[in-house]
Symmetry: C2
Subunit: 475 residues, 2 copies
């Protein structure tokens, strides 16, 4: 493994390709008012939640309302060899939505129908613009739920494209495990289907898993079939404070190694709790904390909780606070959900540069503790939250985007953290994707050979390089 080289992630490489007026005219003819070239619309679609400096926005935005719309938009773009950037709700953290090579944005937020709910098979098929909260609202009456919960109320299309996960992944897996089948519009505008509703299959290449996590570079997903789950009979949540981050992490490691089927186990450091308390007046103990949730039968949940209490006690955990009603649980989880916003508010005008390493669970303490020392030494404020049951955690370095020193400090911290995570057998991104930010890290992580294989696949499936070009790898 080669060490990644630092790079200037706030200045992505821009190589704008021409968008001919004839294409814009053809799109306007086909889509009428659903094709916009208004500056404000274009600008909305040319940025995301990443910390990237401004890139010129896409030349036009097509609001697709059907698979046919998507297919027609891509066919027209293909005819002119113009880039197509899929857009869901704009919550990418890695610059996926930036028109670094120019082109048009295809916004699928109006494709927001839950197409079928197969409650007895625990599957649901949705359009890509359905958001995770909308989905859970729409299937609530069936007694089923969709567990994947990235921080934002992201679209299912975006979550699939970035192989997203969240707090429940430790028990329920990520989008990798939970997307069963797809309808995809390819780079030539053709509509194909991958997978079936069967729970398992050995039928040919796993195109579903190839598309999941391909960040819009191989096609645009227009239908997504997902696994859903029975709402657990019993749910119990708890928070527990620890004398140190190490103690909290060691408790987590022991939990996973024992095979306790915990549903969620999230870490917040003392400083993040201070921010959350200031933001939402929660009055939480300002010490490293684990937030946990247990799903199962009443007896199973009780048993898991007892095991956790014993483990936590061994590592000095104290003041377990339990919540069994939905209202109490919501109060506890508010701390976790507000962390990002609380942190952003703690430093007016700042943006957060979020790290996303994930390491084998036995390496979590090493990776995390050294990175905390490193961050503390710089004096740059940050928040720290972690899906620690998966070995995944996020520093959010709070930078003034106009302060080059702070930007460089954050970059350097991230660079050191990723280098450490890779050396420990981990990955540079657990759930946010590569986007513009982590291309060098991807090469360091997987080697040139694997990235070349990705490029070869991309070239074969998208010979004119029109699908979200310039993401994942340079091309």
């Amino acid at each position: 493994m080669n060490a990644p080289t630092p790079h200037q992630h706030l200045a992505p490489v821009i190589a704008q390709r021409e968008v001919p007026a004839a294409l814009i005219a053809a799109l306007q003819h086909r889509f009428g008012a659903n094709c916009s070239t208004a500056q404000v619309i274009r600008e909305q679609h040319g940025r995301d939640e990443s910390a990237f400096t401004t890139v010129p926005p896409p030349a036009a935005v097509v609001f697709a309302e059907s698979t046919q719309d998507v297919s027609d938009a891509i066919r027209l773009a293909a005819q002119y060899q113009v880039p197509v950037i899929p857009f869901g709700v704009g919550s990418s953290l890695e610059g996926h939505l930036l028109a670094v090579q120019g082109g048009i944005s295809v916004d699928v937020s109006r494709m927001n129908k839950v197409l079928s709910i197969n409650a007895e098979d625990l599957t649901v098929t949705v359009q890509p613009g359905v958001t995770r909260k909308q989905l859970n609202e729409e299937i609530k009456s069936t007694g089923l739920f969709f567990p994947i919960d990235p921080g934002a109320d992201a679209s299912i299309g975006g979550m699939s494209a970035t192989r997203a996960s969240g707090t429940n992944a430790v028990r329920y897996g990520t989008m990798r495990e939970n997307v069963l089948a797809l309808e995809v519009v390819t780079a030539s505008g053709e509509v194909i289907r991958t997978g079936t509703r069967a729970k398992k299959s050995a039928a040919g290449y796993d195109l579903t898993r190839l598309m999941v996590g391909s960040e819009g570079t191989l096609g645009l997903m227009t239908e997504i079939t997902l696994r859903i789950y029975p709402l657990p009979e019993a749910v119990s949540a708890a928070i527990c404070s620890f004398p140190s981050i190490e103690a909290a992490v060691r408790t987590t490691i022991a939990t996973i190694q024992m095979g306790v089927p915990i549903a969620r186990v999230e870490l917040l450091d003392a400083n993040t709790i201070r921010m959350v308390n200031a933001y939402a007046k929660l009055g939480l103990n300002e010490a490293p904390m684990l937030l946990m949730e247990f799903h199962g039968s009443p007896a199973g949940v009780k048993e898991q909780a007892e095991t956790l209490q014993e483990l936590a006690a061994e590592f000095g955990g104290q003041s377990f606070e339990w919540a069994t009603t939905p209202e109490e649980r919501t109060r506890l989880w508010t701390a976790r959900h507000n962390a990002y916003f609380a942190a952003i508010q703690s430093k007016p005008g700042c943006r957060a540069i979020s790290t996303d390493t994930c390491v084998p669970i036995s390496k979590l303490a090493d990776c995390l503790l050294e990175s905390i020392d490193e961050a503390d030494a710089t004096g740059l404020p940050y928040f720290l939250v972690g899906h620690v049951g998966d070995g995944n955690f996020h520093f959010g370095y709070l930078i003034d985007p106009n302060n080059p020193v702070e930007c460089a400090t954050a970059e350097e911290l991230n660079h050191k953290l990723v280098t450490r995570a890779l050396a420990l057998g981990g990955t540079c991104t657990g759930e946010h994707g590569i986007g513009l930010h982590k291309m060098d890290f991807l090469r360091a992580e997987t080697g040139e050979g694997a990235v070349d294989m990705m490029r070869t696949i991309k070239r074969a499936l998208d010979p004119h390089n029109i699908m979200n070009p310039g993401k994942i790898f340079s091309l």
Copy 2:
């Protein structure tokens, strides 16, 4: 979806490509005694457990002992554009090992080392020739186990290449979920790595999942990192007889829909139990039967078992027989494990043509019951076993391979079954792969567009079509 057309699976298309004497000489020079052209060795490597009639064997067999050996063998083959067929233990059921376009066999059975056991991360890295039983033997002392268990003591390489599963998949998933990372020798002989030991990742295209299930057509896996699991604290097994197959299946469907985390739930029909009783003198009740296994804490296992008993009672299940000691469990599971051999012995000289459909769980009863009626109407003997918790089941039609009427009858039954499964939203293969047998079914299942995408990927990654050509799709 187009209906698949019947085909003559016992006569695969053979288009032998020339294997130049210069290649054989070069292999013999490089590999010495580890390259064999002996007729008996070649014949051993030119067949598998499928019912295919004889195809000319590979021209030579290279016994690889290292990644370097594999790389060198493939480089030489690539130089002469000669097919390479990876070989593990030869337990394919779908003709994966047949040299339908000629070429050489690369046998990796001597690459059988467990390279590292990371007990604290619940991962293990193995060479492809390690078999599943060997792996479990070698990790036994750690208190961990690898749950994927196809019928044969298959190699981990072969299991990865066919996306295998088995009786534990209902709880632990298939090779799709349990292969974390790979070292692969590509069609040009290059060695690449995919994935890391991190539990989740959003780092670029999911090459690991692309390779898993690619049946040796995209490269040869030389190292495989797997998830392993803590041996459950408590295990309990049971068998239960039912008045009808429908009652057994309905019990299974209700179990899955309630979210009971059952570890195994297998169906045997009355006739198969008769065969097993005759073979192993087990004295089991000759009625449709579910074999079940529960993993968890003692309380959790008890709770699951009670739920199952209640559900089974609702559907008329009777005479629950429990086994909590390993010896008793082995006795019960013997019935399941012996089904194939018992069936083969019941009709001297026969071969079994095994079906492998998998449907959404709610469709299982419909799919199975109609197919039973159809099979019974022909009078052809068969065994019937099923990983019913996944919606996957196998008929094994017992044919005299020299009797064209029986062969045609089996083919027709399989064809009708697959057509039915596809119409119900299922797949033609849950765990055996496409191989030579199911190419038409794959096209019917996923459509020409998706198969074309697979071909495009294959052409890009293997431009001379040397890696196990003629499998999955025609090319």
